[in-house]
Amino acid sequence: MQAKSTPSEQPALLELDGLQVHFQTEDGTSRAVDGVSYRLRAGETLGVVGESGCGKSVTALSILQLVPDPPGRIVGGRILFEGQDLVRFSEAQMRKVRGNDIAMIFQEPMTALNPVFTVGDQIAETVRLHRGVGKAEARQRAIEMLTKVGIPSPEQRVDEYPHQLSGGMRQRVMIAMAMSCDPKLLIADEPTTALDVTIQAQVLDLIRGLQAESGLGVLLITHDLGVVAENANHVAVMYAGKVVEYAPVAELFARPRHPYTIGLFRSLPDLAAPGERLQTIPGIVPAAHAFPSGCRFRTRCPIAVDHCAAVEPPLVDSAGPGLPEHTVACHRLEEAAKL
């Protein structure tokens, strides 16, 4: 399960190694994240895609150790951020990391902003907390950040309340807040799902710009393969609490190997010829407390055999020597290639 590391590559900014997050529910233990490993280098974007309930958001929350405990709990694995294991960090240490080294933006900017404070206050608060600067300086920083994220007339906007801003503006404020302490890693959890396409384009463009400027690592969590294709360097495809495929973006889109990834691409209407039926992945995502044994995709997989139920396929590099890393967790890669 260890992600392959080539010595020539620069060290990873973030590396998840067999992360397991379980939830205690009335139906039993729910293995929402069950052995997730992926790597993200500084200045790059890692896209994490998967359907709802696949554990992609829980993984992100557990990086900042924001999974509510109880019922959730990190039960295994490591989260290496610049070589340090965040799982072993105390709450006090984590507080220094959150917002400072690692920042996060959420899907719903309306609920992620506090409605009773001005946006300026909220940005300044983060700055003062982590930088220990004075009020005036923090405000200056807030205006600076608002300018940076492309909010017109930031001197006025800094004193406005979240409800006075449009959805796109709010997401920009969220980004300004996240970027105010120059983090090294930005976790963007479905940052544009609630936004319209034209606004989504603006926000993604902004994140790309900031990244180019500061060498930020971005963990982009989304269900939209289009967004991933245009923004990520590497892609991790998650299904039922596991990474089933990990590859550079061009490689993944050109040669998807896992039957799930293949099915996902085939069901995109973008890639279907007009009039042609969409191909579908039959069935539904299994519930987190009742994942099937062995390969979790086998209940929906067109090429599953008995072996898939018995043995869980490991995530192994299937790329040839000299080629970029392309790891897949499937027993039947040859059959999948014929799909």
């Binding site: 529910t25 009335e26 139906d27 039926r277 579908t280 039959p282 069935g283 539904i284 519930a287 009742a290 086998r298 209940t299 929906r300 067109p302 599953a304």
Partner: protein, 615 residues
């Protein structure tokens, strides 16, 4: 149809064998391919209320609270059977009843005969303005019934061979009655005199044999069997008693009905649910009606003379079965006022009625210096002995009424007030709230203003004023309390329902119902209201608790039910002296437990109805 391509591809998804060995969360929507062999069994799942109750049942605290409430309501409903001064069974000669009938027969005969002789004209002329009976025929019927009652009472106790004088009397009475219609005035007066003499003679002819003095001779009376306690149970009590029995045994007979009558068919079981509720109510109503028509409902008084009669020997019993607590709620023991619970050492009395422990010995009056005398305590028939620890397990009040009995009976008022006021306020609140929420516009504004105004009323003082102003003989104060609690308390529910309606009105499933062309009634009652009721239920259980508290407070201030009817509040009101701790502690504890249980249930409901709950 299942051969649509979607269906086919979905069918492939179900791994071979998945249909036969169904995993715990079955793949619900996956359609079958071509039907293989016999059709699959229809699946069922718990509906919303099943889920809510199961969630409730999962919490131990709520289970305890529900069990305690069931117990309290059971005690309240069955209080007449548990604590009463009437015996269940009385197989006895009632000397007192016989002799009083015998003694008074001549009097009532005289009255009846005079009325009959003088006729309607004289009756009308002699009618006084304050008299209740205005018509001659009514007056005649009353007098005749008085005669009959005495004859029946005597006949019941007389052996057949000794009843000849009574037969004589009745013959003469019949003769007089026919004469009074057709005969001349002289004939009538003669007959009247004769009848009066016969009635007077009966007193000597039928002197009963006094068992304490058998030598004096007389008629040996026959014992008869009676069920005074059951006869005193009213129709309403019988209704609730049978209803509660059905409710408590629900799991038992429900299972039986499901298996035997409905043959385990789940479709029919689900459809039969409403029918079962109806059946239980119908059964209880039928039982109450039959009860009222045959046995019960004859007691007009809160106390009965049975214990005193048995003690004094006026009633000579072959067999008496008393209820477990043989104290009536209004039965006084005047020499045992403020007696502490009898299991405490403080409560011990000597033969003369003085407390053995000094601290409870009566103090000299501060003005006159006279030590109030204690007279010997009367231990009535069927009661535990003078210093028996269970004589008054919870002590007595200022007229020596048993606190245990009063608390059991008092539960009926206290618990009912909470329930009825809540039912009323929920009804008002749901109607007004849904009107405001669904109709919107001006109606909404109007109702919302009314809600704001009503919420500004100081509810407690309003109740006090209402109770003080409304004459208690027109509307009993307990009814005024209930009505005023409901009239000031509905606003919370109304707001809640209005909010729910506003929220649900724009939900897609309600829009869908309208798009399907359903009328307003159906949309409101099938689609919106059932979804709005959850929070109302939570509010209702808190409202019951607060209703009980309000009633107790009002009764504590002395504005509640009229004595001697007890409620928990009035019992506390019996004494505010801290040395009479039992008067405050026991009813206070009951109020606390009930309110606490209701709050627990309310909170449990709130959790169970939580949208995040897993059904």
């Amino acid at each position: 149809m299942s051969t649509t391509p979607t269906g086919a591809s979905d069918a492939r998804a179900t791994a071979p064998g998945a249909r036969t060995t169904e995993p715990s969360p079955p793949p619900l929507g996956v359609p079958p391919g071509p039907p293989p062999g016999p059709p699959a069994a229809i699946e069922y799942s718990r509906d919303y209320w099943d889920g809510v109750f199961q969630q409730l049942g999962r919490r131990r605290r709520v289970r305890w609270a529900l069990a305690l409430l069931a117990l309290l309501y059971g005690l309240a409903i069955y209080a007449p059977l548990i604590a009463n001064d009437r015996p269940y069974v009385l197989d006895a000669v009632d000397l007192r009843e016989f002799s009083s009938a015998q003694r008074s027969l001549s009097g009532v005969t005289t009255n009846y005969a005079r009325l009959m002789r003088e006729g309607e004209a004289a009756f009308t002329a002699g009618l006084r303005p304050e008299s209740q009976v205005r018509s001659f025929s009514e007056a005649l019927a009353i007098e005749r019934a008085a005669v009959d009652m005495r004859v029946t009472a005597m006949r019941r106790a007389l052996p057949d061979d000794a009843a000849a004088p009574l037969d004589e009397y009745e013959k003469e009475l019949a003769a007089f009655e026919s004469l009074a219609i057709s005969g001349s005035a002289d004939q009538v007066s003669t007959a009247e005199r004769g009848l009066r003499d016969t009635a007077r003679e009966l007193r000597n002819a039928l002197t009963p044999l006094d068992l304490r003095n058998p030598d004096a001779g007389g008629v040996q009376l026959v014992p008869s069997k009676a069920y005074p306690l059951f006869e005193s149970i009213s129709r309403a009590s019988a209704f609730f008693m049978s209803l509660w029995l059905c409710v408590l045994t629900w799991p038992l007979w429900n299972r039986l009905v499901n298996r035997v009558v409905l043959k385990g068919d789940r479709t029919r079981i689900r459809r039969a649910r409403r029918w079962k509720f109806g059946a239980v109510l119908g059964f209880a109503a039928l039982f109450a009606w039959v009860w009222g028509a045959t046995v019960g409902g004859s007691a007009a008084f809160e106390t009965s003379p049975y214990k005193a009669g048995l003690t004094s020997g006026d009633i000579v019993a072959l067999r008496v079965v008393m209820p477990p607590v043989a104290m009536g709620f209004a039965e006084t023991h005047i020499n045992e006022a403020f007696r502490p619970p009898t299991w405490t050492a403080l409560s011990e009395l000597d033969e003369d009625g003085f407390y053995v422990r000094g601290s409870r010995t009566p103090l000299p009056d501060p003005v006159t210096g006279i030590v109030p005398p204690a007279s010997p305590v009367e231990v009535r028939y069927g009661e535990p002995g003078l210093n028996h620890p269970l004589r008054y397990p919870l002590g007595t009040d200022k007229v020596g009424q048993d606190l245990l009995s009063r608390l059991l009976w008092g539960a009926r008022i206290s618990l009912t007030v909470g329930l009825i006021s809540t039912t009323l306020l929920v009804t008002i609140g749901v109607i007004l709230g849904s009107l405001a929420g669904y109709a919107g516009g001006r109606l909404d504004i109007a109702i919302s203003r009314v809600i704001e105004v009503v919420q500004a009323f100081p509810a407690f003082f309003l109740i006090l004023v209402a109770v003080a102003v409304i004459p208690s003989d027109v509307v009993p104060p307990i009814y005024s309390i209930v009505i005023v609690i409901a009239l000031v308390g509905w606003t919370g529910v109304a707001r809640l329902v209005r909010g729910e309606f506003l929220k649900l009105k724009s939900q897609d499933f309600v829009v869908a119902a309208r798009a399907l062309g359903f009328g307003t009634t159906r949309v409101v009652f099938r689609h919106i209201l059932p979804n709005a009721l959850g929070p109302v239920l939570v509010a209702a259980s808190f409202a019951v608790a607060s209703g009980i508290l309000i009633e107790s407070s009002i009764s504590f201030l002395g504005f509640g039910v009229k004595l001697p009817i007890p409620s928990w509040g009035t019992v506390i009101n019996e004494s505010r002296d801290p040395s009479h701790w039992w008067i405050q502690v026991f009813p206070g504890f009951l109020i606390f437990v009930t309110v606490f249980c209701y709050n627990l249930v309310g909170e449990g409901l709130r959790d169970a109805l939580d949208p995040r709950m897993k059904v």
